[in-house]
């Protein structure tokens, strides 16, 4: 029958190990995605707003990167621009994005693709096969007049020309089963399915060609928590089976802390903090991150009043001078009001923050709630489990 194009868990693990042993010095092998000083604007001239501001990030193979931030912070713009799905008036105005794709049949070798300069033809070859996206609203992403089965056939027909019609059907059934859906769903139209079922179908489609990177933009935001939990569990299982790297975007920081290896927090288009998931939760460094964590009422313990974050999220067209969080920041100092802090590593740790409290200036006293130490990392435990 059809050769399963999905890597088995064993080979993807072996690949990881080989890559580290054979070429430890080459960053290309270690990271599936590298984004450097990336800028995205909407509009031009005096009406221009910068929706993504100097974003730099790296994603290791098989890891989960969480992108947290409130609406309007630039999360969707970032991933749309990265994958060149951005529409006018959005324009990429600087930086580069490199996807290191593995070559079929030879997992040792990777080819770096510059996504910013890639041609439409190159992009077509990369999408679905190497990187795929699941959008927030599956209802909008699925064609309303096509039965679900047709969506699978189209993707498989374009990218797996060698498959016959019955092989495509068999593969579609297999993909549905993978996300816990019965094959009779293939005959349904999108509106005949629940939100959770549509989102599972989008995930199955995203995995159809065994990409090494999957990007999910708020895939569970519109679902209720029980359905969200089912999908997250499913996703964790699929990840440990197929080893794809995942960028997961959400405003729900508590969900990310559970799901991600590393988290970046965005505010007004910029990354303001980056850390391992448990470090970020147990020992936040940026006042906005701390405020976000304290904005989720706890499920146990005494009830006490929480204050959230004063003020409103910023308007990109009227960003303040200096730190964009300063107008809402309880710790703002004189300097914060006219100089923008850069995203810098904290001491010699591998986490970073954009905040004047943490630049090592001895005249600044860091408040105790922003200098807690974190317990032995849960993130590392997760990583170890992934590779055993």
């Amino acid at each position: 029958m059809i050769a399963d194009p999905l890597k088995t868990q064993a080979t993807s693990k072996m690949m990881d190990m080989q890559l580290r042993e054979v070429a430890p010095a080459s960053a290309h092998h270690e990271f599936v995605l590298e984004v450097n000083n990336f800028n995205v604007d909407y509009g031009v001239g005096e009406n221009m707003v910068r929706a993504v501001n100097d974003v730099t990030l790296k994603l290791r193979r098989s890891q989960v990167l969480g992108v947290a931030g409130e609406s309007g912070s630039g999360k969707s713009t970032l991933v749309y621009a990265m994958t060149r799905l951005l529409r006018a008036p959005g324009v990429i105005s600087g930086g580069d994005v490199t996807l290191n794709i593995t070559n079929d049949g030879d997992s040792d070798e990777v080819t770096p693709i510059n996504l910013v300069t890639a041609s439409e033809k190159e992009l077509r070859q990369i999408r679905w096969s190497h990187v795929s996206i699941v959008l927030q609203s599956a209802l909008n992403a699925l064609n309303p007049v096509l039965r679900v089965g047709r969506e699978f056939h189209e993707v498989l027909k374009t990218h797996r020309r060698e498959l016959t019609k019955s092989q495509r059907h068999a593969r579609s059934v297999e993909l549905l089963k993978m996300v816990g859906l019965n094959e009779d769903r293939l005959a349904r139209f999108p509106h005949e399915l629940s939100g959770g079922q549509r989102q599972r179908i989008m995930i199955a489609l995203a995995l159809a060609l065994d990409p090494e990177l999957v990007i999910m933009d708020e895939p569970t935001t519109a679902l209720d928590v029980v359905t969200q939990r089912e999908i997250i569990n499913e996703l964790n299982e699929l990840r440990s089976r197929y080893g794809f790297a995942l960028i997961f975007i959400t405003h729900d920081l508590s969900l990310l802390i559970e799901l991600a290896d590393e988290i970046v927090v965005m505010y007004a288009g910029a990354i303001i903090e980056r850390a391992g998931a448990s470090e970020l939760y147990e020992a936040p460094r940026h006042p906005y991150t701390l405020g976000l964590i304290n904005s989720f009422p706890p499920m146990h313990g005494d009830r006490r009043e929480l204050t959230g974050i004063p003020g409103s999220p910023p308007d990109l067209a009227e960003l303040p001078e200096g730190c964009s969080f300063a107008p809402r920041c309880p710790y703002a100092m004189a300097r914060c009001l006219h100089e923008a802090p850069a995203l810098l590593n904290i001491g010699d740790s591998d986490r970073s923050v954009a905040c004047w409290l943490h630049t090592g200036d001895s005249s600044v006293t860091v408040p105790v709630e922003l200098s807690r130490s974190s317990s032995p990392s849960r993130a590392h435990v997760t990583v170890l489990q992934d590779h055993t």
């Binding site: 409130e70 609406s71 816990g180 859906l181 019965n182 629940s194 939100g195 959770g196 079922q197 599972r200 209720d224 928590v225 029980v226 359905t227 969200q228 939990r229 089912e230 569990n233 499913e234 405003h251 729900d252 920081l253 508590s254 969900l255 802390i257 559970e258 939760y281 405020g291 976000l292 964590i293 904005s295 989720f296 009422p297 706890p298 499920m299 146990h300 009830r303 009043e305 929480l306 204050t307 959230g308 974050i309 004063p310 409103s312 999220p313 849960r378």
Partner: protein
Amino acid sequence: MSEITTTPAQLSVRHLTRHFTTRVPGRLLHAKRVVRAVDDASLDLVRGQVTAVVGESGSGKSVLARMLARIIAPTSGELILEGTTIPAGAKRTLEYASKVQLVLQDPYASTNPVHRIRHSLERPLLIHGAKKHDVEDLAKAALSRVSLDPPERFLDRYPHELSGGQLQRVSIARALCVKPDVLLADEPISMLDVSVRLGILNLLKGLCDNEHLAVLYITHDIASARYLADEIIVMYAGQIVERSRGTALVDEPTHPYTQLLIASVPDPSDPTSQASQSDEHSSYAVPEVGCRFAPRCPFVMDVCRTTDPPVFQVGEGHTSRCWLYADRPEAVVEMALPERRREGETTKT
């Protein structure tokens, strides 16, 4: 009727029920199904208290709130405002509307985009009989009550010039300006940014504590219900399945659905908590007879599939609609309504 109790309810409902009959698409013309949107709901909204209703989408929360606001009529059951039963079939009066106000989920949809904030506030005031030369001051006072200060700065703005959180405050201000005793808030924070949600929750709490409003807070977020509520009610498929005073229901959930709901909430302080159910539950039909949760319930027993569970007392001020608690028959609080025969109808799927 309730004058004798220590804390009289401002608004009570008894056995409130609303069914919708809809055509089944794609079937014979005669194929109809009954959606039991709300079945046999009883609750009391008391001044100075927040009652939270929690449930997934489609569980009947909005239909319940709209019946309480008398925007839709119940199929059966009664509403009691300040001890007076409202006659079945009576029209919603202006007086009722001034005492019971509803705030909706989407603040952009509930304000008119072409009118200034001033208009949104002054119109209901004029309808409710305020004098023309007073309305500006009343509107400003309402904005101050929801911490939109100074109010002059907001009166002449348009909805799109405010953030979601500010606009939700305006909708609450509009509900408050007719001086209601009861505020019904239907998912007031679910469309707002995380960082401004607590501000709205604290505002509701303040209205309740300082101005003694009776507040109904509807949500799908059980953590926010725990944060705010004096009583928590969990709905599933149109029925109240569990309720408790205080936080007992979250701390010690008894109904299998509440347990599943709580286990599903992402909880960073407890990384081991993870519900294990991973089938696509959404395709389960709600059964016509027996417990509505039975198809999804990990503890399901034979009786569950044949007989609607009654409501059992499981703790002080804590009840659960589940056969697992039938070992103490004296604990039955309320028998389920007798199963009704429905001819020519198919179940909700």
